[in-house]
Symmetry: D3
Subunit: 309 residues, 6 copies
Amino acid sequence: MLRDCKAGERFEGVLLVNEWKEVPFRQKPGAYLSMTCQDRSGMIQGKIWNYDPQVLVWLKDQDIFRVKGVASEYRGTIELTIEAIQIVSKEDVDLSDLLPSSPVTADELEKRLAVLIEKIIQPELKMLMEMILGHPEWGNAYRKAPAAMKIHQAYLRGLWEHSVRVAELAEGIAKHYAGINRDLVVAGALLHDIGKIGEYSYDRGVKFTTEGRLLGHIIIGIELLTEEIAKIPSFSRDQRSKLLHIITSHHGKYEWQSPKRPKLMEALVIHYADAMDAELYQFEQAKENHPQDEWSPYIPSMERFIYLK
Amino acid sequence: MLRDCKAGERFEGVLLVNEWKEVPFRQKPGAYLSMTCQDRSGMIQGKIWNYDPQVLVWLKDQDIFRVKGVASEYRGTIELTIEAIQIVSKEDVDLSDLLPSSPVTADELEKRLAVLIEKIIQPELKMLMEMILGHPEWGNAYRKAPAAMKIHQAYLRGLWEHSVRVAELAEGIAKHYAGINRDLVVAGALLHDIGKIGEYSYDRGVKFTTEGRLLGHIIIGIELLTEEIAKIPSFSRDQRSKLLHIITSHHGKYEWQSPKRPKLMEALVIHYADAMDAELYQFEQAKENHPQDEWSPYIPSMERFIYLK
Amino acid sequence: MLRDCKAGERFEGVLLVNEWKEVPFRQKPGAYLSMTCQDRSGMIQGKIWNYDPQVLVWLKDQDIFRVKGVASEYRGTIELTIEAIQIVSKEDVDLSDLLPSSPVTADELEKRLAVLIEKIIQPELKMLMEMILGHPEWGNAYRKAPAAMKIHQAYLRGLWEHSVRVAELAEGIAKHYAGINRDLVVAGALLHDIGKIGEYSYDRGVKFTTEGRLLGHIIIGIELLTEEIAKIPSFSRDQRSKLLHIITSHHGKYEWQSPKRPKLMEALVIHYADAMDAELYQFEQAKENHPQDEWSPYIPSMERFIYLK
Amino acid sequence: MLRDCKAGERFEGVLLVNEWKEVPFRQKPGAYLSMTCQDRSGMIQGKIWNYDPQVLVWLKDQDIFRVKGVASEYRGTIELTIEAIQIVSKEDVDLSDLLPSSPVTADELEKRLAVLIEKIIQPELKMLMEMILGHPEWGNAYRKAPAAMKIHQAYLRGLWEHSVRVAELAEGIAKHYAGINRDLVVAGALLHDIGKIGEYSYDRGVKFTTEGRLLGHIIIGIELLTEEIAKIPSFSRDQRSKLLHIITSHHGKYEWQSPKRPKLMEALVIHYADAMDAELYQFEQAKENHPQDEWSPYIPSMERFIYLK
Amino acid sequence: MLRDCKAGERFEGVLLVNEWKEVPFRQKPGAYLSMTCQDRSGMIQGKIWNYDPQVLVWLKDQDIFRVKGVASEYRGTIELTIEAIQIVSKEDVDLSDLLPSSPVTADELEKRLAVLIEKIIQPELKMLMEMILGHPEWGNAYRKAPAAMKIHQAYLRGLWEHSVRVAELAEGIAKHYAGINRDLVVAGALLHDIGKIGEYSYDRGVKFTTEGRLLGHIIIGIELLTEEIAKIPSFSRDQRSKLLHIITSHHGKYEWQSPKRPKLMEALVIHYADAMDAELYQFEQAKENHPQDEWSPYIPSMERFIYLK
Amino acid sequence: MLRDCKAGERFEGVLLVNEWKEVPFRQKPGAYLSMTCQDRSGMIQGKIWNYDPQVLVWLKDQDIFRVKGVASEYRGTIELTIEAIQIVSKEDVDLSDLLPSSPVTADELEKRLAVLIEKIIQPELKMLMEMILGHPEWGNAYRKAPAAMKIHQAYLRGLWEHSVRVAELAEGIAKHYAGINRDLVVAGALLHDIGKIGEYSYDRGVKFTTEGRLLGHIIIGIELLTEEIAKIPSFSRDQRSKLLHIITSHHGKYEWQSPKRPKLMEALVIHYADAMDAELYQFEQAKENHPQDEWSPYIPSMERFIYLK
C-alpha cells in the first residue's frame, strides 16, 4: 500500500496512473516523466528520470501498472523514484482496489440506510426507494459513486456516505417543525444527489463524464427519477412534483446551479443539511490532515482559514 | 371588442375577469369592486360602484361574464363603469377567444415552421421534430402557449412565434461559422422553450402552473424530451446529450436559472438569439405603445429608458 | 381583544397606537386620521373620519388610548372606524399586555432552556450561562425581547423562543460529528443573538434603539459578553475567543453583517441552525396565514413564492 | 517560419523577441536566458543556456534578431535552444512580417467590406465610412490593428476581420425586425471598435498604448468620430448622437466598461453580434487547437470547458 | 414665493408647472388635475378640482402660469387648491427666477473659483481653465447648470458649487502627499463634471437631454475638452491624456459608469473628493430637512438611515 | 544591512528567518533549503545548496540566525547563497532591529500626534486619548504595531503613521463642512484601527494572532475602547455610541467587514480618509519601487496597473 511507503525504502505494487507528463529539464536538454500514482490507500507523485519512449505509448492507453521504485521524503511529502514500470492487463486487477473509498464501511452504511428506509411510511415513496436501491445497475452505482470530484467525500462510497448523513441530519432537524413531511425529507435527502451516478465515472480515478459536464447531476437525477417514478402508477402527481423539486432546488441558489430555490420546508431542510455536511466534512478533513496545527492552510473553497484547536 | 371601446359609449360583451378586489372607499364606509376585464383585443379596468354581494360568490368560482357598462377615459386610459354583470356558462364560450394572441397568424407561423423543418437533414432530429409538432397534445400546446408571463410575447401563440423567430435568427447566424451544426441549431432553437407548455396554464389568462413554479420550464422540457427521444431508438446518445444541453443552458447563466453554461457553439448561438429576441421584442412593444414619444418610460426588466425615435 | 373584532360589531378597549398620519382627502379639502392600533392579540388599522385637532397633540406624546368604534371588513381585513379616543395614563396599564408575544409559553421555554443548560458540562460556560440568565436586568430582557423587527419571531419572547430552538437544532446536528464541542454549541446557540436585548426597544411596539442602529446586535453582544466573562476569572482566553467568534460570525457572511466567517465547527453549525430556523419560521407563518391557499404571496425576504400544500 | 520547426531540426531566421528574462538555475549558481520568439507563423519559447552578457544590452534596446538554434519537443510543445543570436537593423526588416495576421486575406476582407459599404444608403453615413476607410492614417490602421490583446482575433487585421463579421451578423439579424435602421447597423458595427486603432500598438507584438490604458477604446473612438463627423456639416445631430451611443454602449454593461447600456435597437444588435462573435471565435480556436480532443482545457475567459465534438 | 405660503392663506404668483396629470376620482366618475408647481423658493403640489378642458391644451405647450389659489396643510406639507390658472408669455418672465438655485451666492463662488485658478501654475492648464470659464456659452452654462437630477446639489449653480468644493477638498488632500501634481488636481476637480453642461437641460426644471441619456456626462465632457484642448497647440499630449483620464475615471468604478478606474494619484483624489462631497451633501440636507429628528428617514441612495444628532 | 548587499559581495549579519522550505531538486535526488531572510532594511531570498540536517531542527524552533554567504543578482533581484548559519540567542538581539519600520521617524510622528491631540477640546475625548496613548501596554503597542499584513504600511510604526495621516486628512476635510464635530473626527481617526494592536503580532515578522483571525480588529477595538471608556464615568452614552460606531463602520461596507455603514458625517469622513490613504500609499510605493517605469506591474489589490509618470 502506498500509505505504508517510507523514505528510503523500496516499493513494489500495482498502481493506477492518473495524470502524467514529460517535464523538460530546465538546465539541460531532455525531460523526465512525472506521474500521479494511486492505490486505495492514497496518492503519490512518481518520477522516472530516464525513460524508454515506449512507456509513452503505454501511458496513452493504459493506466494500471506494476511499479518498482524507491521512496524519498521532503517535509512529509513522499515521492517515488520509479525504476521499472510494466503494463498490467485489466483482467488481472480489481479496479476498485486502486481507488480510495469511504472510511465508513459498506456494512455500517447498509445498516444506517436500512434504519432510514424503515422510517418511510408512505408506500409509494418506500417502493421508489426500494426500487432504486435494489436496481441492478443504479443500486450498485449509488453505493459505489463518489460524492464529489474534490472538496467533500471524493472517494468510492462517498455518495452513499454523504446521502446517509444528510438524511440523518435532515430527519433530526425535521422533528423540530410540525409542518414537515418526514417521509419526503428522508427520501429526498437519500436521493438529492442521485444524478452523481451519471455525472462522474470512477473506474480509474474520479472523472466527469461527458453527460456530467453537459447536463450536471441535477438534470441527470431528474431524468433517472422520471423514469423510475413512471414505473409506479400510483405515485401521485403532487408527490412526484415535490420530489423532483427537492432535486432541482437542493443547491439552494441559482448561482450554485439550482434552477429553482427551495419552496418546500422539506426542500429547504435538505438544502441546509447538504450544504452543512459538505462544509463540516472539510473541517473534519482539515483536522485530520493537520493534527498538530492551530490553523489550517487557506481553504479556497471556503475562502478562509479554519481554526483547528 | 374592448379595443373598440370609446369614452362615453356603452359596451356590452363577454369578458374574462382575471383579478378582482374590493377597494374600500377612503372617505366613507363601504367599498367598490375593481376588476381586470379582458378579451382577445385587450385589457381594461372595470369598476362596480354599487354591487350585489352575490357577485362576490360568482367571482370566486367563475371568470367569464357577460358585462354591460359605460366607458370613460383619462389621458388615454379607458375604464369601464360596469352596470350589469352576469355569469356565462363555460360551455357557451370559446375560451381562447378571450385571450390575446400573437399578431402573427397561425398560417404564417405554420409556413415559416415548415421552411425551418425542411432545413433539417439529420433523420432522427427531423423525426423528433415531426413527432413533437404532430403530437396530439404537445403539438397543439406548442402552437397555443404563450412565451412568457409578461415581458415578451405574453399571449397565445407567443411560444410559437418566439421559437420560430429564434430559429430563423440562429440559422442566419450559424451560416457565418463553419463549425456549427445547422440541423442542431434549428431543432434546438425550435425546442429551447418547449417546457413552457407545462410551465404556464393559459385557459383563462396566463398563469404559472404548480409544476411550473416547482420545476420551471427547463426541467419540464428535459422531462418531455427524454420521453420523446426514448421513442426513437436510433437517436444517438451523443445527439441526445447535445440537444438536452441546449435546453439546459439556453438562459446562458447560472443566475438566470440555467444549471449549465453553453458549451457548444449551437447552444451559444441559441442562447444569444433567444436573449436578443426577448430584448428586441421589448423595443418593438415600446415603439408600438408610445408612437408619439421620444423616450419610453423606464423599463424595469431592462433597467433603462429606450430611445424611440 | 382586537382578534375577536367582527365586522359590524362595536369595539371598546385599550390599545397601543404605533404609527399615525393625517391622510388628505383626494376629492375634497380636509383629511382623516389613519392609525395602527395594536393589542396583544393583533394589529388593526383605525380611522377617524372627523377628528378634533386636539387629538394630534395627544398622539405626539402618548401612545396608549382607550378607543371606541365599529369594525368593518373587506376581504378578510378588519378595519376600525374610531368614534372616541381618550388618553390612558401609563400607570394604569401593563404595557406588555399590548404587545403580541410568542405562541410558546414562558413555562415551556423555561423548561426547554433548563434541559439545554443541563447539558453544559464545562463549569465556566455553565457559570456564564447562569449568570446571564439570572442577571437582574439581562436575564429578564433575554426572556422578553423579540427576535427581530419583522421577518421572524417579531414579538415578545421571540428571542427566547428562537434561541432555544436554535440551540436544540444545533445540539441535534452536533451529535453527528465527532469533533464538535457540544457545550460550546449549546451555549453559543443560546447566546448568539444576545445583543438583540440592546438592539431593540419593545416597550411599545418593536423599535430599533439608537445603539442598535449605530452598532447592531453583534457589537452589542460582544460588549455584553466581554463584561460578563470578565467576572469569571477562570474563563480561559481560548474559550472566550471561541465564544466571541461564534457571536461575531453567526450571520455567516460579510454581506450579512458578520465581520468574520465561521472558522469553528461550532460556529458553522450555529450559523446554519440560525439561518434555517429563521427561514422555516417564515414557512410556518405562511402556512398559518394562508391555510386555504396552494401558494403563498410573494415573500420579499425570501425572494420567492412558497408552496403551502 | 517558426511553424515549420520540427524537433531535432535546425532553425535559422529573423525573429521578434517580445519578452525575455534571466532565469536563475535552481541547483547551481548562474542563470539561463528565456525569451519569447515570434514570427508571422507563430510563437516559440527560446532558451540560451550560456549567454554573453552583451546580449542583455542588445535585448534592452532591440527586438529583432537573426537567430540560429535547434528545436526540441515535449508533448507537442516545440522549444528552441538558441546557439547564436545577432541584432538586425530595423531598416532591413518589414516589421509586420514578424507578427501573425488574420487567416482571412486582405483581399477577401476588402471585398466583404465593399459589399457592406454598398448597403449603406444614407449619404452622410456613407460619406463618413468612406472618409474613415480612405483616411491616410486611420484607414490603414483600421485594416492593420488587432481586435484584442488576447482572447479573440489578437493578430494583425484582427480588427478588420472582426468588424466585418460583426457587421455581416448584425445586418443579417436586423432583417428580422421591422424597426431597425440597417444603415446605422452596418456603419455602427464597422465602427464599434474603431478606438482600438489607438488602444493598441502593434509594431512589434500587440501592446497597450498609454492612451489605451488611460482612456480605453470607447473613449478614443468617441474622440476620433467626433473629429471626423465635424468634417461633414450635413451630418445630423440626431444621427451623430446615435452613432456615438453605439460606440459608447457596445459592451452592453457598465461592468464591461460601457458607460451606457444600449438604448437603440441598432445598439443592442451590435452589442449582441460583437459579444457573440468574440465567444464563437474562442470555440473556433479551441477546435482548431485541440483537433483530437473531446473537451477543451478550461477557458478562463469563458469560465468553462468547451465540448469539441 | 411658494416658501412663504401658509395654510389657509391665499396665494397668487407666477409658477413653473413641471408635471401634471389627470387623476380619476376613485368613487365617482370624473377626475381632478394634479400638478407640480415650482418657483425659486420651492415646490408645491397643486390641485384643480374642477377644470376647464381648455387647460389641458395649455398644459401641453406651456409651462409657466399665473396661478391663484388657497394653501392648506397636512403634517407640514402645504398643498395648493388652484382656483384660477392663466398662461404667461415666455417673454414676460425670467425663467431662471422659477428654479431653485444654490444657497451659495454667485459672488462667493466666483471668489472661491478665482482663488483656485490662482493656484494653477502650469500655463497650458491655466489657459484651458480660463478659456472654458470665459467661454461665451460654456462659461455661462458651467455657472448655471445643476450638479445632478436629484440626490445632490440638484439646483441652479449646483455644478459650480459642487466643483468648487471638490477642488478645495482635493487640493487640501493633495498637500499630504508628495507625489501629487496639485495643478492637475485643481483643474481636474473643477472640470470633472463639465459634461453635465450638456447632460441636463435646466430652463424649466432639471431634465435629462437626449444626448445626456444616450452618452452621459463623461462622454460629453470628453468631447468638450477634446475640442477646447485642440485650441492650445502647446498643451502636451501627456497632460491631455491625464486630464481626459481624470474625467473618464472620476466615478471610480465600472459599475458607476466610469470606463476606467483611477490610475493616477490625481484621479484617485478627485474620485474620492467627488464621492465624499456628494454623500456629505446628503447628510447636510437630511439635517436641514429634519432639524428636530434623531434619525433621518431611510435614504435609498445611501441604503441607510442617518443619525442626525 | 541587507539593503546594502551587492551582487558578488560577501554578506555577514544577524537575520530573521521567516519562512523556509526544502525544495526538491527537479533533476536529481535531494533538495536544497530556501528561506526568507529579513532585517530592518529589507528582505532577501536565501538558499543553502548543501545543508546539514541539523539546521532543520534549529529552523523549527528559532528564527534568528547569524548568516554568512555571497550575494548574487538576476535582473535587480539579489539572492543570498548561504555558506554558514548559526543560532543566535534571543537575549542577544533587539528583535525590533530585524523588522522594517516606517520611514517616518517616531519623533516626527510624536510631534504630529501632539498637534492633533491639541486640537481636541471636548474633555472626556481628550482624556480618553491621553489614557490610551499613555497606557503602559497599549500606548506602546499603538506606536509599534504595523498598519497591515501587506498592502499598506506593513511595517513597525505603520499603524501610528497611518493613523496620524488619516487624522490629518480627516481634520482637513472636516473644515469644509459646518456640521462636523472636529473633536470626534480627530479622535475617531486616531483610534479607528486601534484593534490592530491585538490583530497582529509583530515580534518576528508581521503575523495574525489567533484573536485577530477569530475576531478581527474591529471587534478587538470595540473591546478595548469599551474597557477604557468605562474608566471615564463622565463620558456620555451618546459620545460613546458615536465613537464605537466610527470603529464599527470605518471599512464602509458590509463586504469589507464593517457590520454597519457610516451613519455619521464623522464616520463617513474617517472611512473615506482611511480608504484613500491606503490606496495612495500603494501609489507612493509603486512609484518608489519602479522609479524608471511608465507603468507599474499589475496590482492585484487595486485590480489595475498604475501610471507612474
